[in-house]
Symmetry: C2
């Protein structure tokens, strides 16, 4: 059994969810609760988020059961009562999950999803839901920025070797494809999600042969219809000239050299020189693929500086979202037993109650503003509600969406996002208004909490 | 079946490993290869690394097989020949893994591990090995810095909700415990590795009750022997005064309030005020636990500024290694068929051949310098070899080590690391010398490659 096979979803929790469950059970607190998941604020330079991970969440919460092995472990800790173990043995999610469909663009403070269920259920899912959504949403946003920077050139995900573990590797491949990447080197992601897989050779391949030329010719023999040569092992320009020779020999067999890859050095200068070498050799159709510590900033700089690049292989910096490696995501109780609740902790805002996001478009179909409202408020005229019930009464309301469908949705969303918000160094914040009903309730609850908790001589 | 159960290790590869395997097979290249894994340079402010992940690597490579489902997928891509599929069906790792034992401290350019095996085997393991080692080693180093900053105070891992996926969550809990953390909130990591699990309550718990006081009393009823109260939901100082009242009621039952947790606001000011409240109430023994966006820098600043803290809960920034979210790790072919090999790509140094690291200590037992040598070179007098054969002929040479044993090893290593290298903002680099034999061979191979690959009018 591999380590990953032992990742029982029911144990992917923080202990405090179980201690809280213990107390809820002891106090007879079985009322319905709503938890709201949102990102508090944008990471540096960001101005939008891309919803991703909801399909995984729906699958996990509808299937969650406590195995006997898991229960045995929990009992063995001595931290929990037999009553709780008995309760967990019967655990089924019976609630509702309302969420943004994957691929939708959303903004800070807007709920990505809301879980409504008996309080213990919603509480036990806290960590698992946050873990799944934050990674996939963070990466989808990072990848969308790379796609934007590439201005129509191809992008492939090469990040698996340096993602934070293999779960991240698979999810990065999926989230980046959702956001418009063309493929991944990650074979497992290819199998699981039908993402096109790509790849050619490493430096180790080149160095394993007596000469670089031998390695190129051998590769062309094995893959005559898809020959891509890595040309920087010894010297990029020497490599390019050898690649020209390989292309000539391939032409004799009626084959064409498809592309070369550059992975080091001054990529602006080298890509231009390599292009010149191929053009002068009458091979302008040979594509130039570059890799090496790139993300949206590196792509933008290369293109601004005039690099000759047809396709980018994007690895580490996208795969770990290097300039913003986490989202300030929160999963907060907003209603219990019909009573709206909030915390007052300094600097951390939570909007009470079950909510809906409404989006308004201008006459050209571009996003204009969002309105955050109570679910019970009347739908603003001409506005589109964004949160959909994905799970009801513990069951999925619809079949899982295909990754292709979600990818298409994102492309449509992107086309409707006005350009100021697309910038790599965004300064303008998309307007998210607060509905009157929500604002009034928020103020009321906040005042009540201040009076009750702070008012008595504290 | 959960997503994670589908993480077949044999597919956690980049496609190019299969295309290269295809060519090696076609060319009859079955010679023995050695691949060396190392970190090229230190991330900002670092001056050492902590070896972690070798036990997972040993387990994965000795158990790796291609399932029929995986083979079916590979065949279905149309990118690989039937010959390769037949070859993969019989895949077994038959080689040697020489590695640093987990918990050892090491330095840039030193091999963390070397794999010696028929070239296809070593090549197919590239991505999996890199993925496993880079995450665990990165986090062990980050966690070691947090432990150092905490100056003997307790630390627990609270990061699962914001790690990059669940694989990272489990491995962060393990790597941080290895480096000296006292426990984790991650229940699954507790089960898998026997790490002490800790946790109390969330803001949602407090807000689910009609009043903060109700929530505190309920928690004390459920956990009278381990009551830790989160006091910042509404106002930290009001919360502290209520906690005093709870402690008094608990005293009537012969119980004691163990600790309070602060999660927001000015933690220096608040922790000092909270301490004063408890001391004035005759409860100096109540511990103060803080959480909230902390890593080594935050810990250091709080303590420098005079915060009154007994224990730190460390989440996101440690769990994603926020200030340095990846290591510049490389897995390079250094020998094939008895021939030492290297690439010349600019700015990326690789040391040829099978190697050993030797460590010298001063008379007080402190680390003085390391020497990187060819494995075939004579052992320098009085020096300790660091790389050990963990797998030989495809089988583990010894039983897996317990996490406790590895944690103890790290504590011993740490005691021998001279203080300049321990600094959070390290400027001094630990001396790693190059053995004469290695330097001579490197120069020879480099000259040969320049002559052969660059010399012919390129």
């Amino acid at each position: 059994m591999t380590l990953w096979e032992q990742y029982a979803p029911e144990l992917l929790i923080d202990l405090y969810e179980l201690t809280m469950a213990e107390s809820y059970l002891k106090e007879g607190m079985s009322g319905e609760a709503t938890f709201s998941l949102f990102v508090r604020d944008y990471p540096p330079r960001r101005s939008y988020f891309v919803a991703s991970g909801m399909e995984h969440v729906a699958e996990l919460i509808t299937g969650m059961r406590f195995s006997e092995a898991s229960l045995d472990y929990l009992a063995s800790t001595g931290k929990l009562t037999h009553d709780l173990i008995v309760f967990l043995r019967e655990f089924r999610f019976t609630g509702t999950l309302r969420a943004l469909p994957e691929g939708r663009i959303f903004f800070a403070q807007e709920p990505i999803l809301e879980v409504t269920a008996p309080i213990i259920q919603g509480q036990l899912l806290e960590t698992l839901i946050m873990n799944v959504i934050q990674l996939e949403t963070m990466i989808a946003g990072k990848a969308a920025r790379c796609v934007h920077a590439a201005q129509g050139r191809g992008l492939v995900d090469f990040s698996l070797r340096r993602t934070h573990g293999v779960d991240a590797g698979v999810k990065v491949a999926r989230a980046s494809y959702l956001a418009g990447f063309d493929g991944t080197s990650n074979v497992l992601a290819g199998k699981l999600y039908g993402i096109p897989i790509v790849g050619t050779m490493a430096h180790s391949y080149v160095t394993s042969f007596p000469s670089e030329m031998d390695s190129f010719l051998s590769f062309a023999r094995a893959f005559p219809d898809n020959t891509v040569l890595l040309i920087d092992t010894y010297d990029t320009l020497c490599g390019a000239r050898k690649a020209v020779e390989v292309a000539r020999r391939m032409a004799e067999q009626g084959k064409v050299l498809r592309a070369v890859r550059l992975d080091s050095g001054d990529l602006v200068e080298l890509s231009r020189e390599v292009r010149r070498i191929f053009v002068e050799a009458g091979l302008p159709e040979v594509k130039i693929l570059v890799s090496g510590s790139l993300d949206e900033y590196g792509i933008q700089k290369l293109l601004d500086d005039g690099a000759e690049i047809d396709m980018f292989a994007i690895g580490t910096r996208m795969g770990v979202s290097a300039d913003a490696p986490y989202l300030d995501i929160a999963y907060k109780l907003v209603e219990y037993g019909g009573r709206p609740v909030l915390k007052l902790s300094s600097g951390k805002k939570t909007w009470v109650g079950q909510k809906q996001i409404y989006r308004k478009y201008d006459s050209g179909g571009n996003m204009r503003e969002d309105l955050l409202c109570l679910l019970s408020e009347e739908q603003p005229e001409g506005a589109e509600p964004l949160l959909e019930a994905i799970v009801e009464n513990g069951e999925r309301r619809r079949a899982p969406e295909s990754l292709e469908a979600v990818r298409k949705r994102f492309a449509e969303e992107w086309a409707r996002l006005p350009s100021p918000y697309r910038a790599l160094d965004a300064t303008r914040k998309y307007p998210v208004g607060i509905g009157r009903g929500l604002q009034e309730l928020e103020d009321l609850v906040e005042e009540d909490r201040r009076n009750e908790e702070l008012g008595r001589g504290c």
